[in-house]
């Protein structure tokens, strides 16, 4: 029952901070709330025994992305700055839409009778995961593992290209 309680705590944290993330008027706080959500999610993964995934979640998400976001917030706004709120009409319509969406989805979810596979669970230790990441047969993930590197490389180059300051233009102007 311990794990059940754990689950409800995590779930509560996730939901509450999710809502706070998207409603708070302070951007930096939003980032911190997001961090809580992500960490709690990692907790869920731990609970489900996917330790590696949880670790990745913590390092990449909490450690990487959120830090990135906080940096960019610091670059682009003042800490004390309060976010401009959307007008009530927009908020109301959006709220209606997502309530409708959540309802539809949940109805569908509860209508569906999930059947668990009877087969035994695959081991999910770090070693097994590592093996799967370099295996190229069925249920091997060598290909995506390699391919995602292309994405990361491209994203890196792209981010640099977009974000870097242009010097050339200034030079041109000076030349003229």
């Amino acid at each position: 029952m311990n794990s059940d309680l754990m689950f409800f705590i995590l779930a509560g944290v996730i939901l509450v901070f999710s809502v706070l993330t998207v409603t708070t008027r302070r951007i930096l706080r939003a980032a911190v709330y997001l961090l809580f959500v992500l960490i709690s999610t990692a907790g869920l993964y731990f609970m489900l025994n996917y330790n590696f995934l949880a670790a990745v979640q913590l390092t990449v998400y909490a450690g990487g992305i959120v830090v990135l976001i906080i940096f960019s917030i610091l670059l682009t706004s003042h800490i004390s700055e309060r976010a401009v709120v959307a007008n009530w009409k927009q908020s109301l319509l959006s709220a209606l839409a997502i309530v409708a969406g959540a309802t539809l989805t949940l109805i569908s979810v509860f209508r569906f009778s999930f059947t668990a596979s009877p087969e035994p669970a695959a081991p999910s230790g770090v070693k097994d995961i590592g093996a799967a990441l370099i295996s190229y047969g069925e249920n091997g993930y060598a290909l995506p593992f390699e391919v995602v590197s292309i994405l990361l490389l491209a994203a890196m180059i792209g981010a640099i290209i977009v974000a870097r300051k242009e010097k050339i233009k200034v030079d041109e102007k000076d030349l003229k």
């Binding site: 927009q90 959006s94 839409a97 409708a100 969406g101 539809l104 569908s108």
Partner: protein
């Protein structure tokens, strides 16, 4: 059997002349083109006389005159059974018509050499005359009703071209247009008649149609509409075409206006030849009318009778000499129609038929003479209103003499030809329909009256001062007058009862004096009245006109027929049909099309806010779009 295939040359020569003059005329001297045209027609006339002589007097097999298909080529296959052919059909009436047409046409050609001298478009005039001669000859030679229709249209066009000869004169243009359109309207009836007739009988051919065992007569078709058979209806429709061309009431309105054309044209087309095409048409189909659809024939008779009276009344008050003649023509054609209408078929019953043709023949002579004479007068005084004339007998002796002969002839005084032919008509009418008979009596009197009114007004009456002293027409114009005068005098002695009869067989003709004498007397009364009133300038005409002012006014305004037509065309057709249609087309039909485009543009403009440039709105549409799809396909489908 004699081979008459050469008769096809009679129309073809004028055609060749037309093409030749039409294409090269403007390069040659005017007189040359005139001479070529005349020569062509002279050739045609000679051929026609040869034909007539060999047909009527060259001996024939069996009793009576057979109808001979001298020449025929297929022109168009329309259905399995129906073929339109072109050819020449030789029978008494067509031969007679050949003679009439070529003669009058030749006279008019010769006359025109003088009359049209110096006119601009001299060659054009002769080209058109040749075209007309071609069409008219083709019409009378038609072997089938469709050929007739073809040439029927062609004469209409030639008439149109000739009326509008002075195309710079708006009135001439209007008149030509009117003539064409009115006859065209009538032709629509003709066409419908042909369609009905040919569909029922599966033939166009005259010989088959008039054959007593042929499909037309033996199967008239049951009562189709208003108790009349299909055949009757088709014949009535066909007669509508004839009535249009022959200016029968109420389709006559174009004829007086047609006098805008050069006078020789009026003589040729609107007196002697084309306008009698309607008579010829009915005569051509006479057996079908008489045997298959007597009801249609009754219609013919009444239309003819009413027209003749109507025209005669109007003629009494007109002042334009050509218009008087035009109404007189209408009146005389009414006579012919009436004669056909009251005729029976075969033997003495066919008296009316014979009389109609006879009158056609004589009328061609004297009416052409009248017109040419009038032309000579107009040529002399450059005016065609009789109020500007008078006392011309001194200046124009030849014209005066021939005109007088023609007047006497048309008045029906024996022994001139008009008497004989008119008398036969009266006889025929008397035996058939007394009402019509008495109408015709009245018309005879009126005819004599208005002709002499015309005669006196021109040649006697007041002494008018002329700017230029009128001088007699040149010889080239006098000669045709003399020839026609000769014809008018003696044509009455031709034995028509032996030559041109309803069944091709000759019959005995008795002069019925009981009818003839009163008619002559009535004519004499008419002449006398005219003499009293118009020989010298008196106040009597005005007094009479004043005493019957309404009648006079109505008559003078031609019973307002033109106004009625104008109302129908200008007001109803133009204003209430054409204009609304034009409006409807531009605004409703086209407006709808433009409206579709407009709606599209409107929609295009109004949905632009969908693309507001705001990412969140895009996302909102995205999400709701997906959700709507979910809703539809998960929960509604």
């Amino acid at each position: 059997m004699t081979d008459y295939s050469y008769t096809i040359l009679i129309p073809l020569v004028p055609l060749a002349v037309f093409l030749f003059i039409g294409l090269t005329g403007h390069k040659m001297k005017p007189i040359v083109s005139g001479l070529i045209g005349t020569a062509g027609l002279a050739f045609g006339a000679i051929l026609a006389y040869i034909t007539a002589i060999s047909y009527f007097w060259g001996g024939h097999e069996g009793a009576g005159y057979a109808s001979i298909k001298a020449f025929e080529i297929p022109w168009l296959h329309v259905t399995k059974n129906l073929t339109i052919s072109l050819g020449s059909l030789i029978d008494p009436i067509s031969v007679m018509m050949l003679v009439v047409i070529t003669t009058v046409s030749l006279m008019v050609h010769i006359y025109s050499l003088g009359y049209m001298k110096g006119e601009k478009g001299f060659h054009r005039f002769f080209a058109f005359l040749s075209l007309f001669s071609f069409s008219m000859l083709g019409l009378v030679l038609a072997t089938n009703i469709f050929q007739m229709y073809i040439f029927w249209e062609l004469v209409g066009v030639s008439s149109f071209l000739l009326i509008g000869f002075y195309y710079e004169k708006p009135s001439a243009v209007a008149a030509s247009k009117k003539a064409f359109i009115v006859t065209r309207f009538a032709d629509l009836g003709f066409l419908i008649g042909i369609l009905m007739l040919s569909f029922n009988t599966q033939t166009f051919d005259f010989q088959t149609l008039v054959s007593q065992t042929g499909p037309a007569i033996s199967q008239p078709g049951g009562a189709a509409f208003m108790g009349l058979s299909v055949l009757t209806w088709s014949l009535i429709f066909i007669f509508m075409g004839g009535a249009g061309k022959s200016a029968m009431f109420p389709l006559h309105i174009w004829l007086p206006d047609a006098m805008e054309g050069p006078t020789p044209v009026s003589a040729l087309i609107h007196a002697a030849t084309m306008v009698v095409a309607g008579v010829y048409l009915v005569a051509r189909l006479f057996p079908v009318y008489a045997l298959g659809a007597p009801d249609a024939l009754t219609v013919v008779a009444w239309v003819g009778g009413i027209s003749s009276l109507f025209a005669a009344v109007i003629a009494c008050t007109q002042t334009d000499i050509k218009r008087v003649l035009a109404y007189s023509t209408m009146s005389q054609i009414g006579y012919m129609m009436l004669a056909l209408g009251v005729s029976g078929y075969g033997g003495h019953d066919g008296l009316g038929f014979m009389a109609a043709n006879f009158h056609l023949f004589t009328h061609a002579m004297f009416k052409a003479l009248l017109f040419l004479g009038a032309g000579a007068v107009i040529h002399a005084v450059h005016n065609n209103d009789m109020s500007g004339m008078g006392g011309l007998r001194k200046y124009l002796p030849w014209t005066h003499a021939t005109f007088l002969i023609a007047c006497i002839t048309i008045a029906g005084i024996p022994p001139l030809s008009g008497f004989f032919s008119k008398d036969e008509i009266l006889v025929a009418a008397f035996h058939h329909n007394p009402v019509l008979f008495y109408i015709e009596y009245a018309v005879a009197g009126l005819t004599a009256f208005y002709m002499f009114r015309l005669y006196y007004s021109i040649f006697w009456g007041k002494e008018t001062h002329y700017h230029h002293t009128p001088h007699e027409a040149p010889l080239v114009m006098i000669i045709p007058l003399l020839i026609l005068a000769f014809g008018s005098i003696f044509a009455g002695f031709l034995p028509f009862e032996e030559l041109v009869t309803s069944d091709g067989l000759p019959f005995e003709l008795h002069t019925e004096w009981a009818i003839a004498i009163p008619s002559v007397l009535i004519a004499l009364v008419g002449i006398t009245v005219a003499t009293i009133m118009y020989r010298k300038v008196t106040a009597i005409p005005d007094k009479i006109a004043g005493s019957v002012s309404h009648l006079y006014k109505w008559s003078y305004h031609k019973f307002y027929m033109d106004e009625v037509y104008l109302f129908v065309t200008k007001k109803i057709i133009f204003r209430f049909i054409s204009r609304p249609i034009a409006w409807f087309d531009r605004h409703v039909v086209d407006g709808t099309m433009n409206g579709i485009a407009g709606v599209t543009q409107f929609a295009s403009f109004n949905i632009r806010n969908l693309q507001s440039g705001k990412v969140q709105q895009y996302a909102y549409v995205f999400i709701t779009g997906a959700l709507v799809l979910v809703f539809i396909f998960v929960f509604l489908w």
